[in-house]
Amino acid sequence: MSEQLIKLDGLTKAYPGVVANDAVSFSIDKGEVHALLGENGAGKSTLVKMIYGLVHPDAGQMTLEGNAFSPTEPRAARAAGVAMVFQHFSLFEALNVAENIALGMENPPKQSELAARITKVSHDYGLPLDPHRLVGDLSAGERQRVEIIRCLLQDPKLLIMDEPTSVLTPQEVEILFHTLRQLRDEGTAILYISHKLDEIRAICDSATILRHGKVVDTCTPSEKSARELAEMMVGSALHQPLREAGAFGDVVLELNNLSAAATSQFGTALKNINMQVRAGEVLGIGGVAGNGQEELLAAISGETPCGADTARFEGRPIGDFGPNARRELGILAAPEERLGHAAAPDMSLIENALLTAASREKLVNKGFVDWGKTRAFAKRVIAEFDVRTPGARTAARALSGGNLQKFVIGREVLQNPRVLVVNQPTWGVDASAAAQIRQSLLDLAEKGAAVVVISQDLDELMEISDNFCALNEGRMTKPHPAKGLTVEEIGLMLGGADEQEAAHV
């Protein structure tokens, strides 16, 4: 029989206006991989923050190995044997791996000693990592290894992982899972948070499902299908996107040898991109974050105009057009960053509707804004895309991520685009809203628009794309029909192994 490691009993935490956790109780045994499942806003983050000592519960107790456990700060949690790998890394790019790890330690040993320990731990757990490399030179997957090894050096009893695979390629996920299984076999308990249901089925021994801050169910994930898990999470039957594969029309948008500088310090320049998308086609573009996705969207939306001939719309050169000239032609875009790029945080939804719809919806007459018409358009987006908001006058920042995303996508879809480019359309959006957004993209293609979906969620791309390409370090692979692509082939494409040759035709 396995022994219980940590027990949560009636943990409650309320924020003004919302109960994040309502009497949450469950327990994790030693050597168990326990999944925490829930939609966005279900209370997963608050719960793990309480275990890690970042947030203090209003009520309820925790026990760790039979002793009362109430960490007041992360340091206390770490001392008790709880370690956490965050979704967003906290590493200094200008320092090397060993220096970064030393920074997080109470009493760091000498650099040489620490480097030796890092090499040993990374070797023992199959996570190759050179302690002397600069973090700035590491890939996202390698950076995650730094965080994991930082945790492993503390010999944790419980390892909390928040969406660990969102930045990894399928091959890197395999390596991570191998490590996690090894840890489990050594008796370490793992609390695993993820949206990716297949992963949870593959690695977790048990699951606790949260909805609106309450535990609604527990199950053994391997005995359930991904669909069943999703339905437990959402609490209702899922609406799966449906697609009648239709014939494609003419090429609507094409990019020819397009190169563009990085949009930010940490961005990636685009190098000789060639791309075609036809009417009625959904083109999926995969790739690990930071490989030129933002730049590609900016090049298509017109935020970074390039040479006239590098982009053509229905054969007409438009590469030097700005965003509004392109919008008038019907080329619309929804960037990844919702607050501050796709929408202005402090402006109301009405003003945010004007942000991109001014010309195409004719909301401006001789330079004067028709606020009545703008409000009506905003309300139409809210109604048709089921945006949950107190009203159209609410500031964009007051909406939850998923609801704002529905608004941003809806705002573009309702303008009847000829070409729509979206980046990470369902990032951080719960399962039912994600399905709704995907369906709206498919419907749009059905009606004859060309749709380009840039995403890091491969399942999503496989579900909705007709053709699939990958971005790697600013270069794009040739398109492959999405149907029939295997995980290995996709992994190779993401790794940039094959930009010229088709791996699969």
Partner: protein
């Protein structure tokens, strides 16, 4: 313990209430300061806020001064508010004001003593043009070479002040002035004089222009796409670019508007209340207008009220110096308190104060 919590949407009520609260707090803190200086605080506050408008002894002189002083402040602040909303910081309105005055006055003096109804309007246009030109220097340096417009516009104030002194002593000096520095006085040149329109009110063409600017700015900000783009660019530059706002065009436009209005204000001042170009006819209106713009929350109506309030504290401050012998720095400190409390109170419109129960740890 207190804790600040960000409001999901800014509170409408607090946005209106905070300026009033700030004025009250200034009265209290200023009153304490006056008491420490050995003056009767109630008397001092009354002299600053009440006597300039309603005292039988002073009002006939100081009441018209209210509009005379508020006019240029409002006109300049309205211009600045366009740029400030867009995150374009023109700190050099004082320089644009001087150059505008020199250009407009220069035109008038060049055609002296011709008499025509077109002279004054032409001088106003020349004044606006001069201010616009002076503002284009930081605008072009910013858009072409990415220099910092705050520094460039500020430093150009000192350049403008030297040009002003050189003009007063050289090119524009009154040929009949027996060698004294300073230009001809426009009070003696009817066609170019910006006189009082209604006797005893202080209302001159500059005040009319200020009111028109308030209405123009109000309509632009609330109804025109340009107003939306300006606000958007200030709040989230990236979203503005996505929305198709051209940053270069916006910088040129905002600096141009603020420069032109400051130049106009300078022209109205030099042909009216100041009367002539001297080595120091500028009154620091260009700098004070920055305070007025923020005091009015960059809102046209707010700027109108803030300009009047600021003018009142100036007139009242002068009066308090005269009547109570308060030192000038005390009055400046009092005006500084006003801005300080306003910015401090501003927190309340975006945040709420939450009483935090001390947690047993």
């Amino acid at each position: 313990m207190f804790r600040l919590e960000k409001r999901p949407t800014p509170s409408r009520g607090w946005t209106i209430a905070t300026p009033i609260l700030a004025v009250l707090m200034t009265m209290i803190a200023g009153g304490i300061m006056f008491a420490i200086l050995g003056k009767d605080p109630f008397e001092a506050i009354k002299i600053i806020f009440w006597d300039p408008l309603f005292s039988e002894q002073f009002a006939s002189y100081s009441r018209p001064q209210l509009l005379v002083k508020a006019g240029p402040l409002i006109l300049i602040a309205i211009g600045l508010s366009f740029g400030f909303r867009a995150g374009i910081w023109n700190i050099g309105a004082e320089g644009q004001y001087i150059i505008g005055a020199l250009c407009g006055a220069g035109l008038g003096l060049a055609v002296y003593p011709t008499d025509s109804v077109f002279i004054f309007p032409a001088m106003v246009i020349a004044g606006a043009f001069g201010g616009w030109l002076w503002a284009m220097i930081p605008a072009i340096l910013r858009t072409k070479f990415n220099t910092n417009e705050i520094l460039v516009s500020l430093l150009l104030v000192y350049v403008a002040e030297h040009i002003m002194a050189a003009m007063a002593l050289g090119l524009l000096r009154n040929p009949e002035g027996h060698g004294f520095p300073g230009s001809r006085n426009f009070k003696q040149y009817e066609a170019a004089f910006n006189g009082e329109l209604l006797a005893g009110t202080g209302m001159h063409w500059g005040v009319v222009a200020a009111f028109i600017a308030v209405i123009f700015a109000y309509v632009t900000m609330s109804k025109h796409l340009l107003g939306f783009q300006i606000t958007l660019a200030g709040q989230s530059p990236r979203a503005a670019r996505f929305s198709g706002v051209n940053p270069t065009r916006l910088i040129m436009l905002c600096l141009g508007i603020s420069g032109a209005l400051a130049g106009m204000a300078g022209l109205f001042e030099v042909t009216g209340p100041a009367g002539q170009i001297t080595t120091s006819f500028n009154q620091g209106y260009g700098f004070t207008a920055i305070i007025v713009a923020f005091l009015g929350r960059l809102n046209p109506i707010g700027i109108l009220l803030a300009g009047l309030l600021m003018a009142l504290t100036y007139i009242g401050g002068d009066l308090a110096q005269l009547m109570l012998g308060l030192p000038a720095p005390a009055i400046q400190a009092f005006q500084g308190m006003l801005l300080f409390f306003l910015l401090a109170m501003d927190v309340l419109s975006n945040f709420r104060i939450v009483l935090k129960k001390s947690e047993a740890v």
